[in-house]
């Protein structure tokens, strides 16, 4: 009987004792990266290459979203906090402040390229060329009519403008937690609604409310974080349009087509040259305090900023990254490899 008691006690003790050795490990052997799900496919390609070509272990990447990543990143300095965070938008003033409060003083900012957000439908549906204001008129809760804001009356695209297809308005897009949605709001919705004089003359907060309130009568459908899902919806519903990242368009050309925006098609050339109106920059941030402490960070940054990685013929382009023009690439490479810290004033204004 006693033996059994001991056996059970020993098992419990063994389990509770398990972590004590490694949990308190002072320094990690492995780089830890968190952040945007948009940058995730590119960053994973780089770490894989990095892991196979260098003596360092392959870094671990968590896909937490840009905001979630920066929150973890700014939580402090030390092995229990991530070394690098990816973001599909630039760091915000509030996040810089949080970083500083938690002792994360020096951060290296690296711009890696661009990503276009496409407005696409099934290849069975009509070709179209939208103005940003058409898209906003299709999505907003209230639109200007005869000098005042009224509840969105548009049922079909042709109601908005007779040059557009006579199809019911149905749009699938990302939820508010998504970085794609942030970029879409800023570039497409704000861009489109400011073209109306009566809105452009409003105060900042009123304008934001008028521009970014989506209609709730079923024409706008939030389809979840998963872009694959939106692509599938477009295949089964040829009337519908979807909002997602360029790389998904690239991989599904056989079933979906992207609409032109303001007459510009989302191609690598147009996005890279800043011609396409709905494109955003992708970034990553490195904690300078960890450089030289966690092995391999220098080598990782070097791998990421190689021409054969992020250049026009690099392997990230194959994954759907839109490369920066050469001059910008050189400038960012230099900043990144020297770990020039970000000037907080630049963000805080």
């Amino acid at each position: 009987m006693m033996k059994k008691t001991f056996a059970i006690a020993a098992a419990v003790a063994a389990v509770t004792a398990l972590p004590s050795g490694d949990a308190a490990a002072q320094a990690r052997e492995q780089i830890r990266i968190v952040g945007s799900s948009t940058v995730y496919p590119f960053a994973t390609s780089v770490v894989e290459q990095f892991g196979k070509e260098t003596q360092y272990p392959t870094p671990v990447i968590e896909s937490t979203g840009s905001g979630g990543g920066l929150q973890l990143f700014c939580a402090g300095v030390g092995a229990e906090h991530p070394d690098i965070t990816n973001a599909s938008r630039r760091i915000k003033p509030s996040e810089v402040k949080r970083c500083q409060e938690n002792g994360v003083q020096k951060i290296t900012e690296v711009k890696i390229g661009a990503d276009g957000i496409v407005f696409a439908n099934s290849v069975e549906g009509p070709d179209a060329d939208f103005q940003l204001k058409h898209i906003w008129q299709a999505l907003a809760a209230q639109v200007p009519q005869d000098g005042e804001l009224v509840k969105n009356p548009y049922e079909t695209w042709a109601d908005i403008d007779s040059s557009l297809p006579d199809k019911k308005i149905e749009i699938y897009g990302p939820p508010p937690t998504s970085g794609t949605r942030d970029a879409w709001n800023e570039l497409a919705m704000m861009g489109g609604c400011k073209q109306f004089d009566m809105i452009a003359s409003m105060s900042e907060s009123k304008m934001e409310e008028a521009c970014l309130t989506y209609r709730s009568d079923g024409a706008w459908i939030e389809a979840g974080e998963n872009d694959t899902l939106i692509v599938q919806k477009l295949n089964s519903n040829t009337n519908a349009y979807g909002i997602f990242g360029y790389s998904f368009l690239d991989q599904n050309r056989n079933t979906i087509q992207a609409a032109k925006i303001n007459g510009v098609a989302p191609t690598v050339e147009n996005i890279s040259a800043d011609q396409y109106p709905i494109s955003r920059s992708l970034w990553f941030y490195v904690k300078n305090a960890h450089v030289g402490v966690i092995p391999g960070i220098e080598a990782y940054v070097k791998e990421f900023t190689r021409a054969s990685t992020w250049g026009p013929n690099g392997y990230l382009v194959e994954k759907g990254l839109i490369p920066m023009p050469e001059q910008q690439r050189n400038a960012w490479r230099q900043k990144a490899r020297n770990f020039e810290p970000l000037n907080p004033e630049e963000i805080m204004g």
């Binding site: 419990v12 949990a23 308190a24 994973t44 892991g51 968590e62 229990e80 290849v123 050309r253």
Partner: protein, 435 residues
């Protein structure tokens, strides 16, 4: 007098309807059975559709398209310095060898642009695979030999018939050149589909043709190991105490209600708890099977406690009374008689709890196990991911080839679940006692 008149009246007013009523009752019973059959058929039909679509999408992932290259690696070409020892060979680059062999297959492809495109025909893993072969057998260096290497995932999709050749080139997933090259090689017998061992021996990768489930499977085992080690003893002790020793009062009632409530708490809540307590307070390593296992054992504890308690309750009181009657102490009664008799039931509950834990992703999201991890974890503190998370990560990847990988990983996960549930059923059948 009046009573007989009454009955006669009643008899006259009520014709004999029993046959009709009987028919109605039988009809109702037949209808009820029919509804039951329809319900079962619907359930089976849905299951069949689910499994059918998974198998249909996923079976092709167990094959991998490979191409035969005739390579002639020379020390100069691979940049070998010194003797061809394994250490020196590890620093070499076999990519020029692969490209050279590729260009020899298509001498008509000239020009920088076209040749760069042709390089995309073969997987990035090809050079590493050939290097491994040469490391194993250094005498191959300087000789010409045939080797089967993986093609790129685009070619794999083409070979498996997922690329619609009838579409115009700008809509097709693949450029016309690749289709021509593939068809030429196919005609020469140099392209073939082999069983995809990489899927079982490889780890996560951004290149679909190099992606496998080994790291996730090992991660799942380590996580479940921690879960089992923690939740089984705690749950059994709790159940035995509550059932056999604890007094029945308000306090134990409260505990019982709470255990039942815990079983219904959404699993993400345990993830949040794990993040706050296990990682932030105790400082256990993020993304590790240890943390995942602790979180999942919190989740499975109520399930096991509940099933263990009902298994203990199913042991008839006469057993306990007999044991006590011949002089056994209470703890002897429990450990010698009640517990062994209820063990099959407890194990069944444990296996079902484990199967639940195996399929869980939501709580693991919070503790950082939803991550891209290439190295196979070797201990419970290494960063790791689990099978259902691997399914989730692949399902969000844009590449067409990941669709079949996703379904194939689901098939493997289902196989594990079926095996575990079958064990539970077998245990019950084998050891269950009827009293």
């Amino acid at each position: 007098m009046s009573s007989t008149a009454n009955t006669a009246d009643v008899g006259m007013r009520r014709p004999d309807l029993s046959a009709q009523r009987l028919r109605k009752r039988y009809a109702a019973e037949r209808r009820f059975r029919l509804y039951g059959v329809i319900a079962v058929v619907t359930a089976i039909g849905m299951l069949a559709v689910l499994l059918g679509s998974i198998v249909q999408n996923g079976y092709s992932a167990f094959w991998q398209t490979q191409m035969k290259l005739t390579v002639t690696p020379t020390a100069e070409q691979i940049g070998l310095e010194g003797q061809p020892t394994p250490e020196n060979l590890r620093d070499t680059n076999f990519r020029p060898v692969v490209y050279e062999a590729l260009f020899q297959l298509f001498p008509e492809v000239t020009g920088e642009q076209a040749r760069r495109q042709l390089r995309g025909f073969v997987s990035g893993a090809a050079a590493r695979d050939i290097r491994e072969q040469v490391i194993e057998n250094p005498s191959l260096l300087g000789t010409s030999f045939d080797v089967w290497v993986k093609t790129d995932d685009k070619i794999d999709m083409l070979h498996k018939g997922y690329v619609d050749r009838a579409l115009p080139p700008d809509r097709r997933l693949l450029d016309t050149e690749f289709i021509q090259w593939h068809d030429q090689l196919d005609a020469r017998g140099r392209v073939e589909a082999f069983f995809n061992t990489t899927f079982f021996t490889g780890t996560d990768s951004r290149e679909p043709e190099q992606a496998g489930i080994l790291a996730a499977t090992v991660g799942s085992f380590l996580t479940l190991f921690v879960t089992l080690l923690l939740s089984f003893p705690i749950a059994v002790l709790a159940a035995v105490y509550l059932e056999e020793f604890a007094p029945k009062n308000k306090a134990t009632d409260l505990i019982e209600v709470n255990i039942n409530n815990l079983a219904a708490v959404p699993s993400i809540v345990y993830g949040l708890l794990g993040l706050a307590v296990v990682i932030n307070f105790f400082g256990f390593p993020r993304s590790s099977p240890l943390v995942g296992g602790i979180v999942l054992s919190l989740m499975t504890l109520p399930t096991i406690i509940i099933s263990a308690r009902s298994a203990l309750r199913a042991v008839p009181p006469s057993i306990r009374e007999a044991a006590l009657g011949v002089g056994a102490s209470r703890i002897q009664t429990v450990t010698h008689h009640v517990l062994p008799l209820s063990l099959p039931g407890i194990l069944t509950g444990t296996i079902i709890g484990m199967a639940q834990a195996l399929g869980e992703t939501a709580p693991l999201l919070m503790v950082g196990m939803v991550a891209f991890i290439v190295e196979v974890p070797t201990s419970v503190t290494d960063p790791s991911t689990v099978l259902p998370v691997q399914v989730f990560l692949w399902s969000t990847s844009p590449e067409r080839a990941f669709i079949e990988k996703t379904s194939a990983a689901i098939m493997v996960l289902l196989a594990f679940l079926i095996a575990m549930n079958a064990t539970a059923v077998l245990l019950r059948k084998q050891f269950e006692r009827r009293w």
